[in-house]
């Protein structure tokens, strides 16, 4: 394959990843690395570098739309960023010593977990309105717009959320993903933030986390222009189109398709990891 044909195929695949990721709300970043390594036989390090750059593009590109809705809790985001950036820098340092087969197995597990989460119906939890010690000290409590006016909420279990975010940062750097699912899990399930606030704040954090490790990988030579440019432009265009047609698409059907792809990739990643053939 020549540089041109590879760029065209990779751009097409990345476009589909960005589109499906935006339509299902699962993010396209999680399938970019498996696509590059399994389908196009790109070295895992180049794949991780390119994927991280595309994660930043979708996060920053979507920021304006999310911000307009007024859901983002900037204080929660920036506080938890301390954990994710430290995690990302440590993850980037670890990446140099971690065998490819171990990363492939880890990737397979994360993909499987993503598939399971995406099939499980989301249950809306009740909002906590009594202040929590950490939350009031750090002034994390806020409110967000609902159809019935602004709804106040309180944040709980800050240290536990902080710990999970550290893990999300490490995973983001090691695997070149946004780890949005883990971030939303920490905020929505553990810290008790409303789901909408969790997803938009997670989008804010994803770009910052990815920027921490992408900077390190640039210096390590993981970011190859010929691979990264079709990935970044493809994912970005796909995600922007996905955000536009979101209201007209049928997410339930697409979600099943995307989950199927994720499961196939998970099995392949686990197989390659255990046989050491990636």
């Amino acid at each position: 394959m020549t540089v041109l044909t590879l760029a065209l195929f990779v751009a097409g695949g990345s476009f589909c990843a960005g589109l499906l990721g935006a339509l299902t709300g699962l993010g396209g970043g999680i399938v970019v690395v498996p696509m590059l390594t399994l389908l196009f036989h790109v070295d895992l390090r180049y794949a991780v570098g390119a994927s991280l750059v595309s994660v930043i593009a979708t996060s920053s590109g979507a920021a304006a739309a999310y911000v307009r809705e007024g859901f983002t809790n900037v204080r929660v985001g920036i506080l938890l960023e301390v954990a994710t950036t430290v995690g990302a820098l440590i993850g980037a340092a670890l990446a140099g010593f971690t065998p490819t087969s171990a990363l492939a197995v880890l990737f397979g597990v994360v993909l499987l977990y993503t598939a399971i989460r995406s099939l499980r119906p989301r249950v809306e939890h009740t909002l906590l309105t009594t202040p929590d010690a950490w939350s009031s000290r750090l002034r994390l409590d806020s409110d967000y717009p609902t159809p019935g006016g602004r709804q106040a909420y309180s944040v709980r279990r800050v240290p536990a959320g902080f710990g999970i975010m550290f893990g999300a940062g490490v995973l983001s750097a090691l695997l070149g993903i946004g780890s949005g699912i883990l971030k939303v899990l920490a905020m929505d399930q553990v810290m008790g933030l409303p789901f909408k606030v969790s997803t938009t704040t997670s989008n804010f954090m994803i770009g910052v986390t990815a920027a921490a490790s992408a900077g390190v990988y640039l210096h390590r030579g993981y970011i190859d222009p010929a691979i990264a440019f079709p990935v970044m432009l493809g994912v970005l265009c796909g995600a922007l189109l996905g955000a536009r047609i979101l209201t007209r698409a049928n997410p339930e059907w697409l979600r099943k398709v995307f989950t199927g792809i994720v499961v196939v990739m998970a099995i392949e990643m686990l197989y390659k990891g255990f046989t050491g053939s990636l």
Binding site: M1, T2, V3, L4, L6, A7, H41, V42, D43, Y46, V53, I56, A57, S59, S60, G61, A63, A64, Y66, V67, R68, G70, V74, R75, I78, L79, E81, V82, T85, V86, A88, L89, A92, A93, R139, F204, G207, V208, A210, A211, A212, A214, G215, V216, Y217, L218, H219, R220, G221, Y222, I223, D224, P225, A226, A228, F229, P230, M232, L233, L236
Partner: protein
């Protein structure tokens, strides 16, 4: 003497909306630079065989900000792509920097500290990497 006057509040939402717009422009500019470099790259090197199955690492001029900038100015196609990517990596960092200014305007010392820490970690990664 009254108690401390409430700090002049700049609305979080207004600031965030402004930042969101700036980010979007940043992404578009970065994408345009990347696209221009990509077209040039494909035009110059499109027919050479693609071999990314083994990791060699990028040449040193594509690994540092100064090297990328210098080579991009001399119209090296790979460096132009890399410049676009570096601009993209800088967008979330710019967002954190703007958030820092917003907290400073709100005289929120705790969060100025927290945001400074995040910014320092990001700049450390971007400028020095980890050896």
């Amino acid at each position: 003497m009254t108690e401390h006057a409430p700090p002049p509040r700049v609305s979080d939402d207004a600031v965030e909306q402004f930042i969101g717009r700036l980010l979007q422009i940043g992404v578009l500019v970065a994408a345009a630079v990347t696209l221009a470099g990509g077209i040039l790259l494909v035009a110059q090197h499109g027919r050479s065989p693609a071999d990314y199955g083994t990791f060699r690492g990028e040449p040193y001029y594509l690994r540092s900000l100064s090297g990328v900038l210098r080579a991009a100015l001399s119209m090296d196609s790979r460096a132009i792509v890399q410049l676009g990517l570096v601009m993209l990596i800088a967008t979330p960092i710019a967002r954190v920097a703007f958030t820092l200014i917003a907290f400073a305007l709100q005289r929120d010392r705790v969060y100025v500290g927290v945001t400074l820490l995040v910014l320092a970690l990001l700049l450390f990664g971007l400028f020095f990497g980890i050896a």
